[in-house]
């Protein structure tokens, strides 16, 4: 073994790398992005969690409860008109928690009858569920409990209960807070993303490298024919993969039954198409397979971290959150969890479907535009 030989090979590798500015940019950008994400963006403690509430009492006491929930910035309250609506809002992903105060609350409170305040929390994301439950305990503190009475100097022998009201919490949709129910649907999306981006991400660029593209381009094949011909087989393969992984999930981890197989298929088809067309776009803009792989990784990692797959979207700071909304996986995660765990009404998911479809059209359009019919 000669050191000179090793140095010669290493020097050649470095020179090759130096001549690939896109790859260098990715190598530099990746750690910066990861560092910033983990340093600033990713927090396990959510903020501004949406809470739908019904306050039929509208008293000093009910206000005290709402203010205590609002004041530390954890919950962001908005009013709805019924208990059913609270559940509906959570099911439709418009709220993550709910609060119901009955109209007899203050009367029962003054009667020392220990009224109940009802809390509802979404059980889809167990880490968020735990955090919401613990943060709703704000109403149990002495500042709230200790003020649940009027000072009536004329009254005699007023007995105030240690616990003037009872907080009753209901975990919706995933009462057992099963982590697998939360993770598995997202894992399907991650796997499809990886398979699709890597399969198609190298498809065109491989043809560029092997010079077969030149031979195809000289034929009367149109850009659209080539792009569609390229993505169709991968869409079918990825769809099969999607159901295979989901099937395993049902078989091994007893995932809940799906509310609509038709909508699930629509989701699978659209999501797979989005990922395949994104992979194709990567392949078209890349000069080498190595570049394509790096770009794919560059997309996969932020998608996993910023989509709500692991960290709740509410835990991502407001200034980073727009990034979450330009990640297709964010919409997939929300739809599949809603379909599998919450049995959400399809009309509430239509905007998400529309965004995914938009991504698909955008990526196919860009692929066709960026793809040169000459070289």
């Amino acid at each position: 073994m000669k050191l000179r030989h090793i140095i010669a090979i290493s020097k050649k590798e470095l020179t090759q790398l130096k001549r690939d500015p896109r790859l260098i940019a990715l190598i530099v950008m990746m750690p910066i992005l990861m560092l910033l994400l983990f340093g600033f963006a990713l927090k396990l403690e959510p903020k501004n969690v949406k809470m739908a509430y019904v306050d039929n009492d509208k008293s000093y006491f009910s206000n005290l409860i709402k203010t205590s929930l609002w004041s530390d910035g954890y919950f962001q309250l908005y009013e709805v008109n019924s208990k059913a609506k609270i559940i509906e809002e959570i099911r439709a992903n418009k709220a993550s928690a709910g609060l119901y105060i009955s109209k007899d609350f203050s009367r029962e409170l003054t009667d020392n009858a220990q009224p109940t305040v009802e809390f509802f929390v979404d059980g889809t994301m167990p880490s968020l569920t735990t955090a919401m439950k613990s943060n709703s305990d704000a109403i149990n503190n002495s500042g709230v409990m200790g003020n649940m009475y009027f000072l009536d100097e004329d009254a005699e022998n007023v007995i105030i209960a240690d616990e003037p009201f009872i907080k009753e919490t209901t975990v919706l949709f995933n009462p057992e807070e099963k982590e697998t129910w939360f993770f598995l649907p997202g894992v399907i999306g991650v796997l499809i993303m990886q398979i699709a981006l890597i399969l198609t991400g190298t498809s065109i660029v491989r043809e560029k490298e092997k010079h077969t593209l030149e031979q195809i381009l000289v034929s009367p094949l149109s850009k659209i024919e080539l792009v569609l011909g390229k993505i169709l087989p991968y869409i079918v393969i990825s769809l099969i993969d999607f159901y295979f992984i989901l099937g395993l999930g049902w078989l091994i981890f007893e995932l809940p039954d799906i509310s609509s197989h038709l909508y699930l298929f629509a989701l699978a088809l659209i999501y797979v198409s989005v990922m395949i067309s994104l992979g194709l776009l990567i392949s078209i803009i890349s000069q080498t397979q190595q570049q394509a792989m790096f770009i794919a990784i560059f997309i996969i990692i932020p998608s996993i971290l910023l989509s709500g797959f692991i960290f709740p979207l509410e835990a991502i700071p407001e200034y980073i959150r727009p990034v979450s909304y330009i990640i297709p996986f964010t919409y997939f995660t929300e739809i599949i969890r809603s379909l599998l765990i919450k049995q959400t009404n399809i009309t509430d998911l239509l905007p998400h479907f529309a965004v995914l479809l938009g991504f698909c059209m955008l990526f196919i359009g860009l692929s066709i535009q960026k793809f040169k019919s000459n070289i």
Binding site: K210, H211, T212, E214, Q215, I216, L217, V218, S219, P220, L221, S222, S373, N374, I375
Partner: protein
């Protein structure tokens, strides 16, 4: 009657002119890769693009095959404007890239079938006939990556012929193949020419260029000659070509160095060939070299090419 004759003449001209370029150029920024190429290729001709690596042959080939958009100038392929009707042209031409352009994971037949399907020419009998004709039968199920370089070249040619194009572009089709395979490939090209196929072939092999009907000499993007092989070979008629055999090349070459009447010398083993001005006759060169056994020779294509391009280095 006169009108009809003129019309026929125009039609004939259109039919027989397969390629016509006018001031065709390609530039990348300030770099001129092809500089004002004027070319007329007639039906049934084998037109060679000759030049060293980087001369611009492949760029010309790609512009003519609609793979590369020209920066300026005009180009008509079979009477069709190549800038406007790219897809119409693509259906009518065949192209073999210098990199084979084969799918390594597909078998010989699968490769042919695939390319044929792009031209709606995927007829099994026709494909079988092509496989037989080009002696690929025994490799029919062999993966392209397992073929020898020569067979891969032959397969590339077959892939480009599935739709029976009348115009065929061959970009260095024999690069890296052995002389026997090269001869076989050229036999194929000649047969195609006999069947009315026009061939544009780029090469940097001089002996191959001699097999062409017409040649374009390219050097650093410029067209230094564009004529029939016969006429190009006459370009050094106004010079003297001397030939001698000696074991003392170094001392002989030294004597010729810096002589303004010597254009250049070319050495082949023990043979030294001298291209000189006409003013330097046989006796004068013998005297200059102090060497009697010098003969007058005929210019080779390589010498013509060097003479035309040497000042550009």
């Amino acid at each position: 009657m006169i009108y009809n004759e003129s019309a026929n003449m125009i039609r004939d001209k259109k039919e027989t002119t397969m390629i016509s370029t006018k001031e065709l150029s390609k530039t990348y920024g300030k770099k001129v890769v092809v500089n004002r190429l004027n070319l007329t290729v007639k039906k049934g001709e084998i037109y060679g693009l000759l030049g060293p690596n980087g001369a611009g042959k492949t760029t010309v080939m790609k512009m003519l095959a609609t793979l590369l958009e020209p920066s300026s100038g005009e180009v008509e392929i079979m009477g069709i404007d190549a800038k406007k009707e790219v897809f119409k042209i693509r259906g009518k031409i065949g192209y073999v890239s210098q990199y084979f352009g084969l799918y390594e994971e597909l078998s010989v037949r699968e490769n042919i079938e695939f390319y044929a399907s792009l031209y709606n020419a995927n007829e099994p009998t026709k494909i079988t006939n092509l496989i037989k004709k080009y002696d690929l039968e025994r490799f029919e199920t062999t993966m392209a990556k397992e073929l020898s370089g020569g067979t891969q070249r032959r397969l590339s040619l077959v892939c480009a012929l599935t739709h029976e194009p009348k115009l065929l572009f061959l970009d260095e089709p024999t690069a890296g193949v052995d002389p026997v395979t090269r001869k076989e490939l050229w036999d194929n090209f000649f047969e195609l020419r006999e069947n009315g196929v026009t061939i544009i072939v780029s090469t940097h092999y001089m002996e191959e260029a001699l097999r062409c009907d017409k040649l374009v000499f390219m050097s650093r993007g410029d067209i230094v000659a564009n004529d029939s092989v016969e006429n190009i070979m006459k370009l050094l008629d106004n010079n003297h070509i001397f030939s001698l055999v000696s074991h003392e090349m170094a001392s002989l070459s030294r004597k010729l160095k810096n002589n303004p009447n010597i254009l250049f010398t070319n050495q082949f083993g023990d043979e030294l060939r001298i291209v000189a001005e006409k003013s330097l006759d046989l006796e004068a060169i013998k005297k200059l070299l102090k060497f009697d056994d010098v003969k007058i020779s005929k210019a080779s294509l390589e010498e013509v090419f060097i003479a035309l391009t040497r000042d550009r280095k």
